[in-house]
């Protein structure tokens, strides 16, 4: 036992993953999410999978036992939309969204940054502007992303990671947050969707499209092209003789590979518009942003179309460096006040939703953001669900992650105290059955964690 404790301590110090053959968390409170809460039970994880869970589960002889007295076990948290695992996304310059069109003499597309220089300015949809729909995050994933440890320390084991630059940015993947492993091991499912954006990200050097109207028209055109392409290909495959072969179009192939599309909408009116666009596109849609989903009309529209929504946890706030003489409009104040109420309202209405970090990285910021939604009426159970099983369902991986069930991937979060509480401490995280301990409470949840406040307090002088 003492030895084990020492081993644990060593782990705390280095923070690396430890891989015992089996881990059993004994006599802990277990929030399964998919089923009722087990007040006192045991979870056994072996070879990366949940081997057993229940009140009367026997602890295997070879398992590393964690005494669960006073601990709560949750499924590992799932960030519904992120760029984690793409180290370049942390501080990436705008990638060139150049031609993704047919017949391009660019070399194999492994980098996701196609034909950097000398790209002609796109004049129309045929030039496939700002499109890298064929890019798969799964191909580029890396365990070296520096943001990863902070997010994992907040209890996240899984994220849906998407490329975000361009109109058709590329295909996302659900990944487990494993550090320093073979990148391929991280991928839970790929592709899980196509990320579409309609805001100008800059750096594209002009050309079509440059207005909201143009963006929407372009998206429509791509779908029309895709429909035609599909038929043309089918006809050719049936009987190629005597027919011109259709050109291979990677932009359309990329979109056809995507099981669903992520569309942006924040304001109620945008949600309505995007829903009507999504109806035309005939591909399963998920809305991300959702700032005004506290409004009844927005909720009604989402419910009617049965479209799930990913709600950003970056609640609007007044800039700390705002002009004191500049008043805020009522609308701004209302949005600021009510945005955190959105998850509660969605939960009450029965709209499927998940929460996502939207750039929040530190454990403390994430925890505060969730707390804000809970304070605005979201029940703790719904909050947990919105960060575990719901995103898993939205991305079609609920058979693998998102809850504590036999046979699912061993992603667990073990805390002392209830989750999303300020005093709660994350004790341990299991990702794919591998044990991680949170980065020893970084002072401000910052990424470095090595900040000493001695000098600032004038201790050096004393």
């Amino acid at each position: 036992m003492k030895q084990l404790l020492t081993a644990l301590l060593v782990c705390v110090v280095c923070g690396f993953a430890e891989t015992p053959p089996a881990v059993a968390i004994h006599n802990a409170r277990i929030v399964t999410v998919s089923g009722p809460v087990i007040a006192k039970g045991t979870v056994v994880v072996r070879n990366g999978l949940i081997e057993a869970v229940g009140e009367n589960v026997a602890v295997p002889a070879d398992a590393m036992v964690v005494e669960g007295e006073g601990l709560t076990v949750y499924p590992g948290l799932f960030d519904g939309l992120s760029t984690l695992g793409q180290p370049a996304a942390a501080a990436a310059p705008a990638t060139n969204g150049g031609r993704g069109g047919r017949g391009q003499a660019t070399p194999a597309v492994a980098t996701g940054a196609p034909a950097a220089a000398a790209t002609p300015i796109p004049r129309g949809p045929e030039d496939r502007p700002q499109t890298t729909s064929w890019v798969k995050v799964a191909d580029e994933i890396s365990g070296t992303d520096r943001r990863m440890e902070a997010v994992r320390s907040a209890g996240f084991t899984t994220v849906a990671s998407f490329p975000t630059r361009g109109i058709f940015a590329g295909q996302g993947a659900v990944i487990d947050l494993l550090s320093d492993e073979k990148p391929g091991e991280m991928v839970v499912a790929s592709p899980v969707g196509q990320y579409i954006s309609i805001t100008r990200t800059g750096g594209f050097g002009g050309g079509f499209p440059s207005s909201l109207m143009g963006y929407i028209a372009y998206i429509r055109q791509i779908y029309i092209d895709m429909e035609y392409y599909r038929r043309e290909k089918a006809a050719y495959a049936k009987d190629p003789r005597g027919k011109q072969r259709p050109d291979y179009d990677r932009a359309l192939e990329g979109l056809m590979d995507s099981p669903r599309i992520l569309l942006p909408a924040n304001r109620a009116v945008e949600i309505e518009r995007i829903l009507s666009l999504a109806r035309e596109l005939k591909q399963p849609a998920v809305i991300y942003g959702g700032r005004e989903t506290f409004r009844a009309d927005a909720i009604a529209a989402l419910k009617k179309d049965n479209v799930p929504v990913l709600v950003s946890m970056k609640w609007p706030e007044k800039s700390r460096d705002a002009d004191p003489n500049e008043g805020d409009s009522l609308r701004t104040l209302e949005t600021r006040e009510k945005a955190p109420e959105a998850p509660a309202a969605l939960a009450r209405a029965g709209v499927k939703f998940a929460l996502y970090s939207d750039g929040l990285e530190s454990a403390r910021d994430l925890e505060r953001a969730v707390k804000k939604a809970i304070d605005a009426g979201l029940t703790r159970e719904d909050a947990v669900r919105a960060l575990t099983l719901s995103p898993a369902e939205i991305f079609g991986v609920a058979d693998r992650v998102g809850s504590i069930e036999k046979g699912k991937i061993g992603n667990l979060l073990v805390t002392r105290g209830e989750i999303f509480d300020e005093r709660t401490k994350v004790e341990m995280i299991l990702v794919d059955g591998r044990k991680y301990t949170p980065a020893a409470a970084a002072p401000s949840g910052g990424r470095g964690g090595a900040v000493t406040d001695g000098a600032g307090n004038g201790e050096g002088i004393r």
């Binding site: 609007p316 706030e317 800039s319 460096d321 705002a322 003489n325 008043g327 409009s329 701004t332 939207d358």
Partner: protein, 441 residues
């Protein structure tokens, strides 16, 4: 057709030379500065008003116009325009409003005035007989192809809206120095927009602290320039040997001597306060142009006796949550606070709306008599020419509109218009187009 038009114009101009004598007979005269006089005669001689009275007879050879039932008002003055400097804003070659450079006090708008501008005949029909024309008015310098913020755009001119040359049109070649007071953020360099950054995370924005610092630096630069001009003024007065004249600083002397006011463009209340303090420190006479939040600083403006040129009245409120009539009530509120006001339209295509701008203010609280003064005598006095224009008094320029009704009413027709005693033809581009399309079957 065109030739005939030109001939007629020539003929009229010849007739309308300074020595023409005209008598308006039996008119109802509204002098603005004194009560109305019904059924009197107005004698116009050498471009000036020679007399008003029931008993004035027509001298020999005078042209007599029967004005029975018509009203005579002084011509209106628009206190903020770009008339003659800009023809079609979208067509760059026709825009001559500004010059690059941070401090350009030596520039005179008057020399750039194009007497043939199509805008003049159009605005005349609505009774506007004179206007202040500003270099780069209303916009932060550099708006038209410049990079740097501009502080002093140049000298604004008070002109008649008729004349063959700019020399003929000029009432005051240098009526005011146009100072563009720095503003905090919003678009310009070092600008920011907190709402933008909040609604669109990641949008460009430097934050308020940076914007504020940039602003303070810019205010300091403006002060420094005035200080330098004052130093120059001293050196010039001392007549030291080796004194080197400087065009820019030379142009500032009338300002420093208090002969020429500074017309200061400033928007927000805090910026207006800074501008007032600045004018106080520099001991210069200030006129506030087109402010956005003048009502908030009305008492300070009144205390310092700073007149305000109110911008467009028929406009949307400045902020989303402001009352719908915010802009309509502004002139009335300033008046009630005791601030002297006049109107400016600040965009050439709206100069003709000047009387309706005043009318809108009347509908929302500005007394009618005052509104009429705002477009006549108030403007004349603010720009230092109350003795020459702005009312119907003996010895003033014969800038008169002869109408069939209240000039602030939209149905009122202009029957005759006199500028410096010239009976100006009321034909303009719009009437030509009207005639032309009327013929179409």
């Amino acid at each position: 057709m065109k030739v005939t038009g030109l001939l007629i114009a020539c003929a009229l101009a010849a007739f309308g030379a300074d020595n023409t004598v005209t008598l308006l007979r039996n008119a109802d005269v509204y002098p603005v500065t004194s009560p109305e006089m019904k059924g009197v005669n107005v004698l116009i001689e050498n471009g000036k008003i020679a007399g008003i009275g029931a008993k004035i007879a027509a001298p020999k050879g005078a042209r007599v116009i029967d004005a029975k039932g018509l009203r005579v008002y002084p011509g209106m003055i628009d206190s903020g325009t770009e008339l003659g400097l800009s023809e079609i804003p979208a067509e760059r070659v026709t825009v001559d409003t500004g010059e690059l450079g941070e401090f350009m006090p030596q520039l005179r708008a008057i020399v750039a005035v194009n007497p043939d501008s199509e805008h003049f005949p159009v605005v005349r029909v609505n009774g506007i007989t004179s206007a202040m024309t500003f270099p780069s008015s209303g916009t932060r310098g550099g708006g038209r192809g410049g990079g740097q913020a501009q502080y002093i755009a140049g000298q604004a001119a008070l002109i008649h809206t008729e004349g063959w040359t700019w020399e003929e049109m000029a009432i005051d070649r240098s009526a005011a120095m146009h100072v563009i007071f720095p503003s905090v953020g919003r678009g310009g360099r070092g600008g920011f927009d907190s709402a933008m950054t909040e609604m669109f995370p990641g949008a460009a924005g430097g934050g308020f602290t940076l914007a504020r610092r940039t602003y303070m630096q810019q205010v300091d630069r403006l002060s420094e320039f005035f200080d330098r001009a004052r130093q120059y003024q001293k050196e010039r007065a001392a007549k030291l040997p080796g004194f080197k004249p400087d065009l820019k600083l030379e142009a500032m002397i009338p300002v420093l001597e208090g002969r020429m006011p500074v017309a200061v463009a400033a928007n927000r209340a805090d910026v207006i306060r800074d501008a007032i303090a600045f004018a106080d420190r520099q001991h210069v006479r200030m006129v506030l142009l087109q402010p956005r939040e003048a009502v908030k600083v009305a008492s300070e403006l009144k205390a310092k006796n700073i007149p305000v040129i109110v911008g467009r009245v028929m406009a949307l409120p400045d902020e989303e949550d402001a009352p719908y009539d915010q802009k309509f009530t502004e002139p009335g509120e300033l008046y009630k606070a005791g601030v002297k006001i006049a109107f400016g339209t600040f965009t050439n295509e709206f100069v003709r709306d000047l009387p309706y701008q005043a009318a809108m203010a009347v509908a929302y609280g500005l007394p009618y008599e005052e509104a009429l003064k705002c477009v006549t005598i108030n403007a004349a006095e603010i720009w230092g020419h109350g003795a020459e224009i702005g009312s119907i008094e003996k010895g003033k320029f014969a800038d008169l509109m002869v109408t069939d009704g209240d000039p602030l009413e939209i149905q009122t027709q202009m029957k005759y218009l006199f500028i410096k005693g010239d009976n100006v033809p009321l034909e303009n581009k719009q009437t030509r187009l009207y005639e032309r399309y009327k013929q179409r079957q």
